[in-house]
């Protein structure tokens, strides 16, 4: 359950819109189902009244949308930012991807968003409607009574390991200033690192062979904002060819993760949007963990203008041949 109500956000948006301080509002509206809440742009108070949504499924990170949507905008856009979104917001500002003057950022508190995959694991398929109140009540086609679930039990992985409740960028904050959290987000990476290479290979073969190359991870990622993407290359040699052993998209995933290495704020959008539930954030976290260990702690997006570790150097950096032989004996 979220502590801030839809009404509070709605009042804020309507008053700013009516006063002319902003010309449009970037918010959430209902998608095809109750659980696929999608980002939307609202231009009138009536539209907001009718369609604005705020509940446990508003996971979308809005920062990326600012790049395309404020480009030709007259006036300002109001955007609601959860703490993790503000890191991406700063990162995009660092990269000069949008004009700060065109954005009015309102920081909102977040209690963690619900994972529909976990809900489906409890209720089964055939969800006809979901109501989010104190608890999430799920009505399915096959059960007589709605199933009531506490949203704390079905949090997204990224919210279970939430790294920060602190807003690092905003014009106005609708809650108390939060704190960064010492989370256990690298535990799973460490668990994999402790395996033998063959075990790791088997793990990733199992996970990545499910990939259908829908490119959702790329499209949702707030760090992936190139207008022309390497993966859209028709001469890559892989277009229109079925993979021969179903594990060939691994290269896509290495490259995708590498392209955002040092810039990834660990917002977890890639894993959230993955229709095959591949734990893609583990690849990004591996890079973050490595960078922290090799070159010192670095949190992308914490401050505007910080220099990313991969476009920086010192004269006594670790040699690539030594990166395997740190600490624990996991050599096969």
């Amino acid at each position: 359950m979220q502590t801030i109500t839809r009404q509070t956000l709605l009042d804020k948006a309507v008053s700013l819109l009516n006063s002319g301080a902003v010309t449009c509002v970037l918010g959430w509206k209902k998608g095809e189902f109750d659980y696929d809440i999608t980002p939307a742009i609202f231009r009138s108070a009536e539209d907001l009244e009718a369609n604005f949504v705020w509940n446990d499924f508003c996971g979308a990170n809005f920062s990326k949308y600012l790049v395309a949507k404020t480009d030709r905008l007259d006036g300002k856009m109001l955007v609601f930012l959860k703490p993790c979104d503000t890191y991406s917001f700063n990162q995009l500002l660092t990269e000069h991807r949008f004009d700060r003057e065109k954005v009015y950022a309102v920081g909102i508190p977040c209690e963690g968003m619900a994972d529909i995959a976990k809900i489906k694991a409890i209720t089964g398929d055939g969800i006809s409607s979901i109501a989010c109140d104190e608890k999430i009540s799920v009505t399915t086609l096959y059960a007589d009574a709605p199933v009531v679930i506490d949203s704390k039990d079905v949090l997204l992985e990224r919210c279970e390991n939430c790294k920060s409740k602190k807003h690092v960028a905003y014009d106005e904050l609708l809650c108390e200033e939060g704190e960064t959290i010492d989370s256990n987000r690298f535990d799973e990476v460490a668990r994999l690192e402790a395996m033998t290479p063959d075990e790791r290979f088997a793990f990733w073969q199992n996970e990545l062979s499910r990939c259908i190359r829908c490119n959702a991870c790329r499209d949702a990622c707030p760090a992936c904002t190139c207008e022309k993407c390497v993966f859209d290359n028709p001469k890559s040699g892989v277009e229109n060819k079925a993979p021969a052993n179903s594990f060939e998209e691994k290269l896509f995933h290495i490259i995708r993760a590498y392209h955002v290495a040092g810039r990834c704020t660990d917002c977890g959008e890639c894993s959230r949007v993955c229709p095959q539930n591949i734990p893609l954030h583990l690849l990004n976290r591996k890079f973050i963990k490595d960078i922290n260990e090799f070159y010192g702690e670095y949190q992308a997006g914490e401050e505007v203008g910080s220099r990313a570790p991969l476009v920086n150097y010192t004269q006594d950096d670790i040699e690539p041949g030594d990166v395997f032989n740190r600490g624990g004996d996991n050599n096969a």
Binding site: V238, Y258, L310, V311, Q315, D317
Partner: protein, 144 residues
């Protein structure tokens, strides 16, 4: 039946100013290194985009080695420092995915180190030959 001996395909990215000259020196001195090593000359080791390495593996390379000037000796002052960071993170990631770590290597070879170039290549080819064919990173759609 005769079993065909495994010959690895090694791609070596050599920096124009040091390692390529080092390879030249190795040749001038009549030092032996296996013909399985295919040298690609790059202006600086930091010209090597990590995607080049993945692309080489995708199209059937069995090992990739990057050679550059020693740290501090870069013709462009700082290129190889960037290479070092990039390759450290990339190699660590490949290892994380369970790819054999012996298939990739970064070596610093100066223009005067012809002997080191030949020795490095001999060693690397031997290592990759022992590993056998690159099965984990190949992409049959791209192989020629």
């Amino acid at each position: 039946m005769q079993v065909k001996e495994f010959k690895p395909l090694i791609v070596a990215f050599c920096c124009n100013w040091c390692s390529y000259a080092g390879a030249d020196l190795a040749g001038n001195n009549r030092l032996n290194y296996p013909a399985d090593v295919k040298i690609i000359r790059v202006p600086c080791s930091c010209r090597v985009n990590p995607m080049f390495i993945l692309r080489a593996f995708q199209r059937g390379a069995d090992g990739v080695i990057i050679c550059g000037c020693h740290p501090g000796d870069c013709h462009y002052t700082s290129g190889n420092y960037y290479t070092r960071r990039r390759m450290a993170t990339l190699f660590s990631m490949l290892d994380f995915l369970g790819i054999e770590r012996e298939r990739t290597r970064l070596e610093w070879v100066s223009a005067a180190e012809g002997a080191k170039f030949a020795a490095t290549m001999n060693d690397f080819v031997e290592q990759v030959t022992a590993l056998g064919e690159n099965k984990r990173l190949e992409d049959l759609r791209c192989k020629r």
